[in-house]
Structure formats: C-alpha cells, structure tokens
Symmetry: C2
Subunit: 210 residues, 2 copies
C-alpha cells in the first residue's frame, strides 16, 4: 500500500509539527467556510491564531464544530499512464470543538509556541506581548483528540502492460524552502536574518510503521 491512513499519535504529531498553516472548516448557517490559519502544537492541543478577526475565528471561538486539516505536499508522482498520476502528501484531519483561551499564561504560552514554530529562539528576542496586547489577541485551543493522518509515499503504480512504454516515470519531490531574509530598511541592529524552522523533514520515502 502506497497510501494509508493511521490514527497513530506520533505520525499525526510529526505532520502537525512540520506544517505552518492549517485549513479550518466551520459551518456558517448551513454553508462551509474554509480559512487558512497559523497554528502551533503544544502537547495534545493545537493553538490557532487568526490573521485578523474573521467569521471563522468567531465561529471557532463560540464552540462550533470544526475540522482542522494540515496538508504537506511532498511530491508529484508521474506515471506512464495519465490516469495513475498522483501526489505524495501527508495530511492530518482533526475533528472537534475549539475554545477561546482566556488564561493569560496559556495565551502567552501559545503565542510563544507560534513564534518558536516560525523561528527557534524568536520568543526570547522579540519584544514580549504586553498585558493589553495579550488581552486583544484571540487564540483558540483545539484538541488533538479525534482525527487521523493519511500519507502517500513512493512511486507511481502503473499497470504491468504500461511498464515498457517509453515514458519517464517517477517522483518529483517538492519542498517548502526559505529564501534569504529581507530586512526592514530601518533596522536598529546589524544582525543576520534568523534561520527559520521548516520542520523535521523526515525521510519521505519511508513507509509508515504499521
């Protein structure tokens, strides 16, 4: 099997820890809305942070049922036959109900985790949030409780009769890369751009443990 689902927590967590954007689905009336949000994992919870006040954040914060999906695209799978083209990917879908974080300490921990996810050590360098800033920030806690991961790895699955066709087949690996940082023009410090953390990037050709 090149595509398989799992409920194994370690697999779910490794995918969550590598992603930087999740897609949050909520239901507004009877219509679904899917919005991208920044997030970080702390233990058995995700902490979601809206770019700005929006409908999804409002619905999430008010306890609507939600689905949080994180997808990492690992490669394009080129088969000899058109119909067998595919993608290698790792995906986590979580189901549950979010809750607004009210406790200032938990809010600060979530805010710190979000910064550290982007750049390790960043939370010790950036000016820490003030009490009013923290109060004005909406952070939603979402449990990593119900859900699953789905992973496709490996090459194409062509039919035996197509294997002799003179067509290139294989995988084109894709990766999210950071380019050199672009500093603000008015920096008060001569320092190099920090190094970002784009995840553990495990060996993607390894199948999941059963």
């Amino acid at each position: 099997m090149r595509e398989r689902g799992t409920h194994e927590r370690s697999v779910v967590e490794s995918i969550l820890d590598e992603g930087i954007v999740c897609h949050v689905g909520v239901v507004d009336g009877s219509a679904p809305i899917v919005s991208p949000m920044a997030y970080a994992r702390l233990g058995t919870n995700l902490y979601l942070h809206g770019a700005a006040r929006n409908r999804t954040l409002d619905l999430l914060a008010s306890g609507s049922a939600a689905c949080v999906t994180v997808t990492l695209v690992d490669g394009l799978v080129l088969a000899r036959a058109a119909v067998h083209h595919s993608m290698n990917y790792r995906c986590v879908m979580l189901f549950g109900v979010g809750a607004t974080v009210e406790d200032p300490e938990e809010k600060l921990a979530a805010s710190t985790a979000l910064l550290e996810r982007m750049v390790p050590g960043r939370s010790t360098v950036a000016r820490a949030p003030s009490v009013p800033e923290l109060r004005a920030t909406t952070v939603v806690r979402f449990p990593i409780d119900e859900g699953s991961a789905k992973v496709r790895t490996g090459g194409p699955k062509d039919d035996p009769e197509d294997l002799s066709l003179p067509v290139w087949a294989g995988v084109i690996p894709l990766e999210l890369r950071a380019r050199p940082g672009v500093a603000e023009p008015d920096l008060a410090v001569a320092a190099p751009a920090p190094t970002v953390a784009l995840g553990s990037r495990p060996n993607r050709s390894e199948p999941l443990a059963p």
Copy 2:
C-alpha cells in the same frame, strides 16, 4: 494596507493557477470536513480530482454546498514585537456547488489540465486514458463565481516606539521548490526527469492593483 481583499478575477485566477492543492470544505450532517484535493482551472471552472473515493468527493459530487480554498504561503513576517509577527500569503476562497462531470470530452479536458498543471506537455507524453479509465474517474466541476482573494505582502507593522529595539525584523520569503526527479528503477527509456510547473511566481513584493 498590507492586507487586502479583492474580487478581481485576474488576481483570483493567478492564485488558483499557482496552487497545486486546494482544501475543500463540505458539511456532513452538521459537521464540516476539510480535505485536500488536486485541481486545475479551465476558464471559469475548477476541476477537482480526488486521490481516491472519499466522503468529501461523494458530497461534492452530490451537489452539497462547498467552500474551496487555495492558500499560497509566501513568507514569514518577523516583527520587533511578538504580537506583530505575521505571514505573507495569497489565498482564494470560493463558494458554490460542484457537479460531477459526465461528458467524456469534458472529463478528458479536465484530466489533461490536471496533468499539464503538474508538468507542461505531460498529457502528450503519458498514455492517454482509455474509455473505461475515464469512466471510472470522478471529476467534479466547481464554478469560479462567488468568492474572493486575500493577499498580505510586505514587511512587519511595528509600533513606532519599537522601531529602535535591537531586534532583526523583516520577511523570510518561502517558496515551494522542486528537487531533482527520482526515476522508477524499471524505466524503459533513458530520459531526464521532466521540469515541473510551480506557477507563475509573480513579484511578491508588489502590492495588488486597486
């Protein structure tokens, strides 16, 4: 304004044409489900292709209200203050109702567009779908009709009193890159791996036209 929404079709289409995975939200009973799907744009429609038969595809094909979101993450925005950290991104959210494509010619056109989106010219190289293969493939048409784009570009927005802090601030650009192709071990042809198309990659520091 560093973050702005738009209903301009050219902006929406350029984002759709650069993405390779969309997140499709549907409502199952009263609960949202968000699944990643491959897609390609042909004119004023998206054509969605499920990795396998799944609940989202079934609901989409049966005409459930859906939200299709494509997000491109362009950079991490590092501010001097923790609270002003952000991401540069381009996102399209479309709302509507999908329909299963029954016409074999439209199905073939959608399948061709999906291949060409991955690798230009691929549909002329790969073995074309047979009539039974085409019949067994589920393709959903989704109109690019109701929705909007949202784009954040540029550097951080620190407060004036933080500008003198000795903290690096700026943007770390992110990009999806293709690594060298990994050929199947049993290729019948000595050919280089094809070049993939990861989108037009416009100058991301340019603000949107008003």
